[in-house]
Symmetry: D2
Subunit: 306 residues, 4 copies
């Protein structure tokens, strides 16, 4: 395993076309595209790392996996009255589908869906309290109390998040929101600004590769059925309008973030986190996707066959 | 296994709400909704059946799995210049996406995509010759020379297929077609009218559960990588705008047809065919989906975890 | 003329189906649907009234005619880089078109377009100053210093205007806005809350029937060409997705508001204001439209023939 | 008048950017863009011509004005159950709106709408008989028995009309058609291939400027109300997604064709036909539009003021 990921990391550093770093906020735009990290966490506690796996990055939309897990814990299957379970066929920040479907977002992994999830979990609490709860959960999953928010990113998000503000008010115009829109947006912008490294992220996602159980304690974090369902959503909807492509090329459930990270799950085998900040045109990490494609080919890990 | 499927078949017969039989052509509309069949084919050659597994039905869109396999064999990865690999977020017969994306269909499993695949595999041949080739392939896969076309259904399709004719001419208006539109439509309407029973269908799909290899001979029908990719497409796009839901509930790659059949693949384990002609509002077999959900829960077979 | 409008007013009061009062804000929802007023102002200074022509109502989107006039005065034809001149083919508050056309609204009379116009005229000023300027202009046009804002309506608009807030942030996400979004929205919500009666409104619109000239002084308010162009926009875009219907039935340029008012222009002949708060399904005054249809038939006034 | 149009014709010949000739069929693509003609027909029988006003061109979509008139004569206002009266906000050959509105086209002047009108007027007759009737009507209007079809264009249309075939079958898939689709398309392709010169066209449209009356006989061809309504539809929908622009710049009802012709109506004053085969990006004659803009400015003729 270590040999495989060392070679992948080495290959990645030699590629010229690393994609383009997200430019919509200055804090992300100034990041050096010339970085790559990969971490593989196994249910038995082993972890393999290569590249700059100690470098923190903004996990952005990968945080939606954790807020979805929290939301399912709090609301159970009633959550699905607020958000759908289908791929959108549209870009991550599209509003067209919202108008056609009366304010109900297609899935919890597009921006509108994650904002709806943020509203659903708040239940009248302030965004500061909510953020503390989310952070507590992520720290618990990663078994690492040092995880926190990148305040600069959070501030920037709030300042440059006109599209997300628009999505939130659009849903609110259908009477879909239980909490004040600015509070919901605060929660959303904050949890997108959680900073982690690949090692922390791989560990935080490991329960999804372990039938929902905490690999340290063996106790369930979610039921086996729920773990499978979250994996299913990651596979069909985890890469926006590139989800079909990711399933085709990599063959594993995954969730990407505009910060350049991807969390991929090989059920029963491992949780894999990669990071490289350059993005493809759809907004997914270019090298990260390619590294996972090589990784899946080398290990033979795929949910679609050996 | 036999006990599991017998019980499922028994449960299905007791359900009241069986969905509605497809009504767009008389040959399908007159079918009794009160039927159910399931067949499970294992790589070792064993096959388990329950319900009316000898009854022939129109496989309709399930045939798209076989034409896609043929097209990849003939054209290799260049096929993807003609058709995409993403879920559509639209109904199976939508034309909106085609206009927005300049005549290129989103994936090979929506109607427009399968018509484009039909054009791609014809390569100047007549539709009668093409149909013979498709039938030859399906008979070989199922190891059953008795498989044929339901001529009444084929005739009806051609008469009531205004939407599909419209889709074909729409793509042709972008200069996408290599063969005359009526010939392409003939091929498409014919292969959708192949009649099979669940036993034949489960056997025909078994190579996809067996890393691409013919279970009888051990020789590859497609490469292991290609089998995985076809499975990936079935998972993300195989149930039209209900693909996310099927992945969420069943957790296996699958392809449905408006005749009420579904072919599902448990990679490395089995090929499962179900049939029940009543459909849900999206056009997928209502009892068939439910039966597969029970089957996946009972066996624990899911690509997303144990 | 007086006989014609008296008879129309009388007919209107006898109709049972008066449409439904706008319900999105309480201040509008509580208005009695059983009201009707009509005023006809001639270039020679004559004015004819019938019904409750002294009752104030919220002019809502009719104010967009006045802000467009101001914007053309301030920016000239460069305004058209910010907003288009085509009918939208969508409801008044649709956001779909904005996404397809990269944040540029189709015309100045749909909500998004009027919000863009509000931004264009502010030029760094505060919304309070801007509103004062708009009010000053409307009072000058109507020659009536008593015209003001309905503060209750303005407050309600701001509280229940989630869709409009969404539209504004959506445009801002394309970098289209020169002023802070909340200030622009304040200006927009305020000018929509101007309260007038039909007599004041008919007088305020008279310059558009008088080749752009102030009927009292003979001095131009806008050039003859600009008056024609504003009339053209009212005809093609003034009734949202019911503009074609209004042109077909009434045959005069007009602009409706969700408060139940309509301003119609018979070029060279008269400015006509009607008010009845019940709306049709598209959001235009039901009786108001019908009254104008009768009025046009009786007078033979139509831009499309005698 | 003669001086005005001579000067316009002279100006037009000096312009460099004449737009691009329609290229979708060879018969149109080979036409020299360097041509311009204008004819102005007055109700008193006078006619003024400039440029190559004797050159025949394919009137294409301008024929939709005549088939609409025929359809209203045959079906009366029940025609509006088949086709709407609103601008579409989409290109002339868009199919998106048809899907969103269940196969009912937005207006009779987009391609789908005119095909629906062709179906409505056929009433079981063959396309050859139908075409004879349309030609008879146009010859009567223009008082010129020499008007006919350009058979080469008609043949080309049928061969390269994949998009229109698609539109027709799409509508037929909603059960909207009373006649066989190929017959309806024959009628449509044929009437679009009528060849006229500007003098004939101006005379054929004169009844719309004359309150519906035949200028030679004084007898009504349509009622005054119907003439006004056809003019209203030309103004709001006559230039596809450039209708708002044409109303803004020219201020007269008009209908354009992809052959480069435009018929414009100054109610009570004149019928004006222009021709120049180069098109703008929307598909309307570039010089033709510009010439009408100059003509309207010179004469002061506008439906929106003096």
């Amino acid at each position: 395993m270590q040999i495989i990921i060392d070679e992948i990391a080495s290959n990645m550093m030699q590629l010229q076309d690393k994609g383009n770093v997200a430019s919509y906020i200055p804090e992300l735009a100034k990041i050096d595209a010339n970085q790559f990290a990969i971490s593989v966490a196994l249910p038995n506690g082993e972890i393999f790392n290569a590249g700059c796996f100690k470098t923190l990055f903004s996990i952005q939309s990968i945080s939606k996996v954790f807020t979805l897990t929290l939301a399912l814990d709090k609301l159970g299957e009633t959550l699905w009255s607020r958000v759908g379970r289908e791929p959108s066929g549209d870009p991550f920040n599209s509003i067209v589908q919202l108008e056609h479907e009366h304010g109900k977002p297609r899935n919890p992994f597009i921006n509108a869906g994650a904002i709806a999830v943020a509203d659903a979990i708040m239940q009248g609490h302030k965004s500061s309290k909510m953020l503390a709860e989310i952070l507590h959960f992520v720290r618990f999953l990663a078994d690492d109390q040092s995880i926190g928010i990148d305040e600069n990113v959070a501030r920037c998000e709030a300042h440059s998040g006109a599209r997300n503000i628009s999505l939130a008010y659009f849903m609110a115009s259908f009477g879909q929101f239980e909490n004040p829109v600015p509070d919901v947006l605060n929660t959303y912008f904050s949890h997108c600004s959680i900073a982690m490294n690949t090692e922390q992220l791989a560990k935080a996602g490991l329960f999804l590769a372990n039938n929902g159980k905490n690999p340290n304690t063996g106790f369930p974090i979610v039921s086996s059925q729920r773990a499978k369902r979250i994996n299913a959503l990651m596979l069909t909807c985890g890469h926006y309008d590139g989800s079909g492509e990711f399933a085709f090329r990599v063959g594993l459930p995954g969730k990407s973030g505009v910060g350049g990270g991807i969390l991929a799950i090989a059920p029963g085998k491992a949780s894999i986190a990669v990071w490289s900040p350059g993005l493809d045109t759809i907004g997914n990490s270019k090298l990260g996707t390619y590294a996972l494609e090589l990784f899946a080919a080398e290990t033979g890990w795929s949910v679609f066959g050996d």
